[in-house]
Structures are given as structure tokens and as C-alpha cells.
């Protein structure tokens, strides 16, 4: 029995829900209404105390309006909005802590010359507390803080890394061959620039040379002094966060310094620190124009390290939760014990192929009649003629891009598919819509014995004869039923879990422009892929992950820029990523309030 773990995430909570009553009678569109936000933040004092906590708490650290994606355009077309954009409006620029993935990548690149450290990165970061999830992503600048647990884990990791680094023969090379304070100071300057991602100031340098002297005066040797320097640098806030303190203000906005722009670029595409080429460009002021920045963007995207941006798909499509799937072995006997990993690799291979192709576009992402499989996954799906452990392109007539890949269908239950959960996934992740939580007093199990002769689709249809149930379930079920031709582990089938013939024909509604009759997943994929609402949702998720925050009202021009560029490139996936460097949100930052 594969020990898949149960996924308690977003999809589960609202899954399988039958929604009566007033909870779901509101208007449902692709737009979340503008709401004020109690902004996230972090701090030490609490509400415990005399007289605190009266009345409603108000937000701090993010009082801007929060709206979802293209809704910030206020009903105008992207082109109309863009025509009104004049002075840069970068929106908020919250201080971003490195995500756990960014930390791992950064250490890997920082110590690329020390193989022992590169190989120890997974182990020394294994206990980092997982980041709080927000809007499906774990890299939101607003929520990435350093609670005590994280600080201790950073300390432990820094301890292991600094000890190994100082002991590595090639890590520090002294120009005059003498391991002394002069050599240590040179090391501080060169290594410090890599860690701080900018040249050190005199004040920065002096604190580390003082630290070195402290080690020596305490009776320790040169190696220990180096160890202490590396240890402290890796716990410095200037390493753990991406400060932008040297941006040049111009009225209401500021222009990031060359080094800040180098980090913006490298963390955008590599989820890591700048390389020597970027540092050199910053050194010589070559990251000033949009053309220079775009040229770097294309260079970075062509580099193997760009594969790290697959983390976006990992989080957007919840691939990282696949390990928690649970399947009843009496219903699904003999599953490959590595199925969650195989499903993750399938999607990785598919999107990697799209991203590396000059013609990889959004339509293909949602409609491709092919996927990638190795022998083990092919055996699971029943694809003939696939051998070996490497993933290869396999024609899959009737399937439709990521929509029908096993990982999407794995949001089901232990014993059966979940039409509701599948529909919910598409409604929230592909259409970016809000589905209210279920009200109380409803039976969500759909396993009533009196309905044993009905298919799940038919049972849900019965629920929806109740108007109050229908108001929410019309959002989910009609999309979910389209996938009934695949079982709860993503294999094709003609009979559903209750032995009834599968019926996939459906009518999708409640969207701006993705409404209509569909006969099967391929038709649904076509409907979604040509929808501006769906394209806008994808751009929104791209914005959220790569900029590390929600799209907010001041981002209208940035969002419009992104959408116009997406459209003008035929919805090319890689060009959308390049386009991320053309927005106000990327090129500028707010003047710190």
C-alpha cells in the first residue's frame, strides 16, 4: 500500500460540499470585490494586557485595496489602461525574506565551489519550517517572517555550512599565502559581496573584521575566524531578506540600484542570487535600461538554472501536496508506491518542454493532446510502448494539457473521484474565482445508501435541484463532471465509481467568457484556453508568485502591461515571463513609507 498522505489543503476543505442556504446566493464573477485588508505583518507585542483588544482590529502594513488580478483594470481593457499610464506606479514592495526554495538555491550558488556544501544543502535545510501558504503560494513577502523556530533552523544550517566551508581547502585563498587579518579582510570583502548581493560598506566590513579579531583574541585560529564570519553572514538579515535600501527616489517612486536590479532578475528566474555576469553588469552600470534588463532576462531564462522557476508550477498546481494523497488499497490495489512523485515529474517534464520551446503557449498548456511519461508512469496510465526511466513525450488523444494530468485528478478522495473537488480546483486555480465556504448542516459525503444506484453526477444533480445548493455547486460540479472519464488516480475509464456509464458532456457557466457546452475535457480545455478571463487568471498567478504578493489596486498599469504583452506574443509562456521585467512593479519600487 502506498503511504500517500492526506492533503489537508485548499482543495479538501471546500471539496465535496453541498451548499444550501444564504451562504452562496451572492453574485459570483471572476472578480473578488475590493476589500480592505488587515495587512499581514509581524511583531512582538501581543494583545494580552489591560484594556487591549477592544473593538475591531485594524490592519497595518498593507492598507491598500486588495482585488484579484484583472479586476484592478476596473472594467477597462488592458490597452485602455495602458494608454492612461504615465508616472510609474510600482505598488507595494514588501521586504521579502528568502523562501525555503530560494534559500536552498542561494546556498547552492554561493558555495558552488565547495561540493561538500552543495551536497549537504538538502539535509541542513530539511527542518526549515514550511512557509505559510497564501493564495496558493509559499513565497508571499507579506507572510514570510522569522519566528523563533526558523531563526534556530537558520542558525543550525549556518553552523553546519560555516564549519564545512572554513574546513574546505579551496574556500579561502590568501593572496600572499599568509592566513592573517589582511587575508580575512579580503575574504570579507569578496565573499560578503556575494552574501549581501552588493559591495559591502565600510560599516559592514568593520563588523566582520571585528568578529574575526574576536575569534583570534579568544585564542582561536584563522580557520575559526573564517568560520565565524561565514556563520554570522548567513544569519544576517541582509542575507535572509532582499533589502532594497539603495533605490533612488524620484517623487512617489524609486529606481532600484544596479545591485538591487541584479537580485530582482536572478530571484525572478533562478530563485537565487545573481551570478558573476549579473554582478559585473551591476558593477558597470549595465542594468539601467529596459533593453539591458530584458537582455539579461533572456539570458537567465536560457540558463539551466531557470529550471528552478518550475517551483511556480509546483505551488500553483499544488504538486507539492501530492505526497499527502491517500488511496484505499482495496479500491486501488497495486498502485506504484512512487505515484505522487511520478505525477509530479509528469507535470514538470510537460511544462519544462513548453517553457524551453519558443512556441510554448498558454493554449498548449491547457489543451495539449500529449503528456510525458516514463515506463513506470506509462504502466500506471496504460500507455503502451514506453520504456526506461526517462520521461518522454507520449500522445494522449482525449487528454487536455495540465487539466487532465494525473496530478490534477489526484485531488480526489481515498475511494473515488470527487467531481466537486475537481471543479473547485479549476474554478479557483484556473479561473481565479472565489467559492464561498460551505454552510453548516449539510451532508457532504454523497454516500447515502438510498442513492446507491445513482452515479455521483446524478446525485449532485439531485442536490442542485435545491436552488440554494445550486448557487454554489453550479460553480463546481459542471466543470468537475467533464473529468469523470478519469478515475481517482488519473486513469481513463468508461464506468464511474458506482458502475454507471461515464457522461462527460456538460455546460459551463458563471464566467465572463468561458461559458458554453462542452463534450469532454479536450473541449473544456479549448473553451478555457481562449478565455481572456482564464488568461488573466494565469497572468494573475504569475504576478502573485514572481512578485511575491497579491495584485492590488495600484498595480493596474503593471497588470495591463503584462496582459498586453501576453496577448501580443500569442500568449507565449516564456514571453510572459520576460514581460515580468517590463512592469512598474518590477522596474521600480515604492518609496518606503
Amino acid at each position: 500500500m502506498p503511504t500517500f498522505r492526506n492533503h489537508l489543503g485548499l482543495a479538501v476543505v471546500a471539496a465535496g460540499l453541498v451548499l444550501p442556504g444564504a451562504a452562496c446566493t451572492g453574485r459570483v464573477t471572476g472578480r473578488a470585490g475590493a476589500t480592505s485588508t488587515g495587512g499581514p505583518g509581524a511583531g512582538n507585542s501581543t494583545g494580552a494586557g489591560n484594556g487591549t483588544g477592544a473593538g475591531g482590529a485594524t490592519g497595518q502594513g498593507g492598507s491598500t485595496q486588495m482585488v484579484a488580478g484583472p479586476a484592478v483594470l476596473n472594467g477597462m481593457t488592458p490597452e485602455q489602461v495602458l494608454a492612461t499610464c504615465q508616472a510609474p506606479n510600482p505598488g507595494r514592495s514588501p521586504l521579502r525574506r528568502l523562501s525555503n526554495a530560494e534559500y536552498r538555491n542561494t546556498i547552492t550558488d554561493l558555495f558552488a565551489s565547495v561540493p561538500t556544501i552543495v551536497s549537504m544543502v538538502p539535509a541542513v535545510t530539511a527542518e526549515f519550517p514550511p512557509e505559510p501558504v497564501s493564495l496558493g503560494f509559499r513565497n508571499s513577502g507579506d507572510y514570510l517572517n522569522v519566528p523563533t523556530l526558523a531563526a534556530q533552523k537558520y542558525m543550525d544550517a549556518a553552523d553546519a555550512i560555516s564549519t564545512a566551508a572554513a574546513a574546505a581547502p579551496s574556500f579561502v585563498t590568501c593572496a600572499n599565502g599568509t592566513k592573517d587579518a589582511t587575508c580575512a579582510a579580503a575574504f570579507v570583502a569578496s565573499f560578503g559581496k556575494q552574501v549581501y548581493r552588493r559591495p559591502l560598506t565600510a560599516a559592514d566590513t568593520s563588523q566582520y573584521t571585528a568578529l574575526y579579531q574576536k575569534a583570534i583574541s579568544s585564542g582561536y585560529d584563522f580557520q575559526t575566524g573564517i568560520e565565524w564570519i561565514v556563520y554570522a553572514m548567513l544569519q544576517s538579515q541582509q542575507f535572509l531578506y532582499r533589502f532594497e535600501l539603495n533605490s533612488k527616489p524620484t517623487g512617489a517612486y524609486a529606481t532600484p540600484s544596479p545591485y538591487e536590479m541584479a537580485s530582482r532578475l536572478s530571484y525572478l528566474y533562478w530563485q537565487s542570487m545573481p551570478d558573476q555576469t549579473l554582478f559585473a553588469a551591476a558593477d558597470s552600470g549595465q542594468l539601467a535600461t529596459q533593453a539591458q534588463i530584458e537582455a539579461q532576462a533572456r539570458r537567465l531564462l536560457a540558463d539551466p538554472k531557470a529550471s528552478r522557476l518550475l517551483e511556480y508550477f509546483n505551488e500553483w498546481l499544488s504538486l507539492d501536496a501530492l505526497g499527502e494523497m491517500t488511496r484505499d488499497p482495496t479500491v486501488f490495489p497495486n498502485l506504484d508506491p512512487n505515484l505522487p512523485s511520478l505525477l509530479q515529474q509528469e507535470t514538470y517534464a510537460f511544462v519544462s518542454d513548453l517553457m524551453s520551446s519558443p512556441t510554448g503557449d498558454f493554449t498548449t498548456l491547457l489543451t495539449a493532446p500529449y503528456t510525458f511519461a516514463n515506463a513506470a508512469l506509462a504502466k500506471h496510465y496504460g500507455f503502451p510502448g514506453v520504456t526506461g526511466t526517462a520521461f518522454q513525450k507520449v500522445a494522449t488523444p482525449g487528454r487536455s494539457g495540465v487539466l487532465t494530468q494525473g496530478m490534477m485528478l489526484a485531488h480526489d478522495k481515498a475511494t473515488r473521484t470527487s467531481i466537486v473537488r475537481r471543479g473547485l480546483e479549476v474554478r479557483t486555480e484556473v479561473l481565479c474565482q472565489i467559492v464561498p465556504a460551505p454552510p453548516p448542516n449539510v451532508n457532504i459525503t454523497l454516500d447515502d445508501a438510498s442513492q446507491a444506484n445513482l452515479s455521483q453526477k446524478q446525485r449532485l444533480e439531485q442536490h442542485r435541484t435545491n436552488a440554494s445548493c445550486a448557487s454554489c455547486h453550479n460553480l463546481m460540479d459542471p466543470i468537475g463532471v467533464v473529468f469523470e472519464g478519469f478515475d481517482a488516480v488519473g486513469r481513463p475509464r468508461t464506468l464511474d465509481d458506482s458502475g454507471q456509464p461515464v457522461v462527460t458532456a456538460s455546460t459551463v457557466g458563471f464566467s465572463q467568457d468561458a461559458n458554453g457546452d462542452v463534450s469532454d475535457p479536450a473541449a473544456l480545455g479549448q473553451l478555457l484556453a481562449k478565455s481572456d478571463e482564464v488568461r488573466g487568471c494565469y497572468a494573475t498567478n504569475t504576478f502573485r508568485f514572481f512578485y511575491g504578493r497579491e495584485v492590488e489596486a495600484p498595480d493596474a498599469c503593471s497588470m495591463a502591461r503584462l496582459l498586453v504583452d501576453f496577448k501580443s506574443t500569442g500568449y507565449n509562456l516564456k514571453e510572459l515571463l520576460v514581460g515580468l521585467t517590463r512592469t512598474d512593479a518590477f522596474l521600480y519600487r515604492e518609496v518606503s513609507p
Binding site: 453574485r27 476589500t35 465556504a437
Partner: protein
């Protein structure tokens, strides 16, 4: 920069833990902690501790008790495992959470909001596309009681190493359904990740060393110097950075500095009298098992119970939040013969479904008594930890199928220094709230200066619960 400098550089507090042999005892903890009053000395007054214990998805309100008299109450089936402990229990029956008093848009689904019942604040927005009405919903905008009590403890005992400890059994995904502890301050969303691996949790806070091993002591001294010098540098740098950023970023850096000072205390704080207790000794956690395999969840829970008792015994913290799962848990209790998820079943009002819900809770209440036994068998002060600890059992809901947040049951367990009159059931008839109950927790801890906690709309009485003492 570091605000506190000891007059001389102490060695790690852990180095001095009495009874530490440097060799992990290959004994079960209960054996290693047989109560012994050393040397016939009068033990110093033990501090009060509090431990919040969570289980999910509500239970079945009508099947908790067969009689509800104050002293004549009778446990029904799923609470029956508690009967042997009834003289040390105080049942708080029919409390209301009052989330409906918060305006729409600042309150999540009852599961989600209920998961932050220890943090009685409105929810923010921005994180989840489900759970709100027509808006996204976020984490709660203020601290949870475990954190607030921990911070208040620190005010009285500035050397206390850990403000609080937060543990959870099960997956390591951290979202609104899994995060029950919050740092605050009021007005901010700042969830605190729990520890999910008991082996790592143990290693993080306990390091037992042999004070007679000179080489080991030299290594410890060197590591301590490395740690302290780095903390000094990072804190000094942080103080400068704080002046250069906006208010929201400053709060983030404040929290980080607070975390670094937490670590600094674990390096510097002198051993307290309680920490020298006989029970503060290494414990063997056994062969490491997969902490995320649901088949192991009882073992993992019990390991966290052991670690919690040891943390109390060593006076590393006064406050612990332990969770059997996140809220809305959909764990499949295969060990009880079930094939459906807990949350899924909790939405079914049929008799067979409720039978499963009761079976799950009976199972968890049975496990909870393991905690009681560990506390009873751990020497502390003149008695045991059971004498000096209040265990607060809570749930995000009262009952799952209705998502009820009134008729909630909280159970206070433990002698708790005789703060409360026990062996009783108090029926509040939904005219007292969870936040009133939390005020009672502050009162128990001796923090009578804390006269309110949480958003005032979530209080019913605005005072500690009456009739408890």
C-alpha cells in the same frame, strides 16, 4: 545589539542539567522519572504551566454526557476514558465562540476561524479564495493565547528560554487549516509554524552534556562563543536596518530580532531551581519513524507528550500548544477500521457517521490520558507536573455536521495548583464565550493584570468565567 550581557560568560544552561550523564538513558521516560524527593529537601515552589491540546472537527454534542449535574455528571461513551481522572477535571460545557458577532469579511468559515479559537480576533483578508463570503480570507489579526501567555511569562521571568512551544501531529503543510498559533501583534497576520517532527523538536531544545568531559566542554565553550558573537553582530546590524525601512517591514524585522533574543536566552539564561529537578534528564525517543505517516500518529503524539513534560520539567517554557491535527483534519483513521476522512464524515448527520466520529474522539481522549499519566509521573516541585499544570482541551467546532460554534466543550485537566475547584461540570448555557475562558487561563497563570484578551465582540462576559475557583 544585545541588550543583556551576563557579568561573566556562562556555559550553556544545558551543560549543567543535573542528572545529565551524556548518555541518553535507554529507559522509557516513565521509568526514568519515577518520583523521588531528593535529600528530603523542601522543594521550591513550582511554576504554573499550561498546555493547550487540540482535536478537530467537533464531536457529538448530545452524546457527551448522560447526566450534566455539577458533581453528578456522567460521561457518555466517547468521554468515558476520562472517568478515572474526573476528580481533577473541570468540564466547561456549552461555551459560545460568538464568531457571528464579527462583521462579514472579517470572519472565516467556522472551521477556519475555529482553528484560531485561541486567538479571538477578526480574520484578515488576502490569503484564501474560499472560506470568506465573497472575498478572500486571511489569518487572524492577533496573537493566540499560548503566545500571549508565553510573552507575559517572559515578562515575569526574563530568563525563560522559550515563550511557548507549538507542536502538531501530521503533515507539514502550513495553511489556514493547519496554523493554530499566532504571534500578533494585534492588527497583523503572523501565524507561527508548529513543529511536526518530535525528534527534531527534542534535539532543538535539549542537549545533555557531561560536565566532566573536558573536551566536550571546550567544544561547547567554543560553539557558545561562536553563537554569541554572531548574535551580537546580527542584532546590532538589525537595529540599524530597522531605522531604514517602513513600518510594515519594521514589524517583520522586530519579530526576527525577538526570535534572536529568544535564542540568546537559551544560551545565556542561568539554570532555574526547577530545571535542576530530578525529572530533567535525557529521554530516549526510540527508533525514528516516519513522522508524516498517519499510521504513526499515536506514537508521534505520545512523543510530543513526553517532550512537553520534559520541557516543563526543565523549565524551558511554561506554555505549550499541542495539536492532534490541524482543523478540518481529513485524516483517515485506518487504525479504527475507517476508509473515509474525518472531516468528510463529520459532515454526515447519519447515525453510522456519528458512531465513527465518536470512535475517533474516544480514541483521542484515550490518548490524552497518556499525557495525564506522564504528567502524574513526572516529579516537579513538591509533587508532580500534574499538580502544577493546567491542560486545556479544545476543538475548532462543537459539532461537525452543523459547524456549531456554540455548545462548545472545553475541559480543564490537572490539579493546576488547586486554582480551580475540580471534579465538576459547569454548564454556561452559551452565555459565556471562549475568550472569557481564555481570560481564566491568564488568571490561572497569575496574570491578573490581563483583564481583556481578544476582540471585545467575541467576549460574552468580558471577565474570567465565574464559578471556577
Amino acid at each position: 545589539m544585545s541588550s543583556y550581557k551576563p557579568p561573566c560568560k556562562p556555559l550553556s544552561r544545558r551543560t549543567f542539567l543535573r542528572g545529565a550523564s551524556g548518555v541518553a538513558l535507554a529507559l522509557p521516560m516513565l521509568d526514568a522519572m519515577t518520583p523521588r524527593r531528593a535529600f528530603g529537601q523542601a522543594a521550591p515552589a513550582a511554576p504554573k504551566r499550561i498546555m493547550f491540546v487540540f482535536q478537530s472537527n467537533g464531536d457529538q454534542i448530545s452524546r457527551r454526557f448522560t447526566a450534566t449535574g455539577e458533581t453528578t455528571f456522567q460521561f457518555d461513551e466517547f468521554l468515558a476514558p476520562l472517568e478515572p481522572y474526573r476528580q481533577d477535571l473541570l468540564i466547561l460545557h456549552n461555551l459560545d465562540k460568538r464568531f457571528g458577532k464579527l462583521p462579514a469579511g472579517s470572519v472565516a468559515d467556522n472551521h477556519e476561524q475555529g482553528g484560531s479559537s485561541l486567538a479571538p480576533w477578526p480574520s484578515g483578508t488576502g490569503s484564501y479564495p474560499i472560506g470568506g463570503a465573497m472575498t478572500t480570507i486571511g489569518f487572524v489579526l492577533g496573537p493566540s493565547a499560548d503566545r500571549a501567555i508565553g510573552e507575559r511569562s517572559l515578562k515575569d521571568v526574563p530568563s525563560l528560554p522559550y515563550q511557548h512551544l507549538v507542536y502538531r501531529v501530521g503533515g507539514n503543510h502550513n495553511d489556514i487549516w493547519n496554523l493554530h498559533s499566532h504571534a500578533g501583534p494585534v492588527g497583523t497576520q503572523s501565524p507561527i509554524p508548529p513543529e511536526t517532527d518530535p525528534y527534531a523538536a527534542y534535539a532543538r531544545i535539549f542537549t545533555f552534556n557531561d560536565p566532566n568531559d573536558a573536551a566536550a566542554q571546550a567544544a561547547i565553550k567554543k560553539k557558545l562563543a561562536k553563537q554569541q558573537s554572531a548574535l551580537d553582530l546580527v542584532l546590532a546590524e538589525a537595529a540599524t536596518l530597522e531605522t531604514k525601512v517602513g513600518a510594515a517591514d519594521k514589524m517583520k524585522l522586530d519579530m526576527h530580532m525577538s526570535s534572536l533574543r529568544d535564542i540568546e536566552r537559551t544560551l545565556q539564561s542561568p539554570m532555574t531551581s526547577t530545571a535542576a529537578g530530578m525529572a530533567c534528564v535525557p529521554t530516549d525517543l526510540g527508533t525514528k519513524i516516519d513522522v508524516f505517516n498517519d499510521d504513526n500518529h499515536i506514537v508521534i503524539g505520545n512523543l510530543f507528550f513526553k517532550i512537553s513534560a520534559l520541557a516543563f520539567a526543565c523549565d524551558l517554557t511554561r506554555t505549550i500548544q499541542f495539536n492532534w491535527s490541524g482543523n478540518t483534519s481529513n485524516r483517515i483513521y485506518k487504525n479504527l477500521g475507517m476508509t473515509q476522512g474525518h472531516h468528510d464524515m463529520s459532515h454526515d448527520s447519519s447515525d453510522p457517521a456519528f458512531a465513527n466520529i465518536r470512535a475517533i474522539h474516544k480514541h483521542l481522549w484515550t490518548q490524552n490520558t497518556t499525557l495525564y499519566d506522564i504528567l502524574k509521573n513526572t516529579p516537579d516541585g513538591a509533587g508532580t507536573l500534574w499538580d502544577n499544570t493546567l491542560v486545556v482541551h479544545w476543538n475548532e467546532l462543537a459539532q461537525g455536521d452543523t459547524h456549531a460554534i456554540n455548545n462548545c466543550m472545553v475541559i480543564f485537566a490537572g490539579v493546576a495548583q488547586n486554582t480551580f475547584r475540580r471534579g465538576r461540570l459547569l454548564d454556561f448555557q452559551n452565555k459565556a464565550s471562549y475568550s472569557d475562558m481564555l481570560l481564566s487561563c491568564f488568571q490561572y497563570m497569575g496574570f491578573s493584570d490581563v483583564t481583556s484578551f481578544g476582540d471585545s465582540r467575541l467576549a460574552w462576559l468580558g471577565t474570567p468565567l465565574p464559578g471556577l475557583t
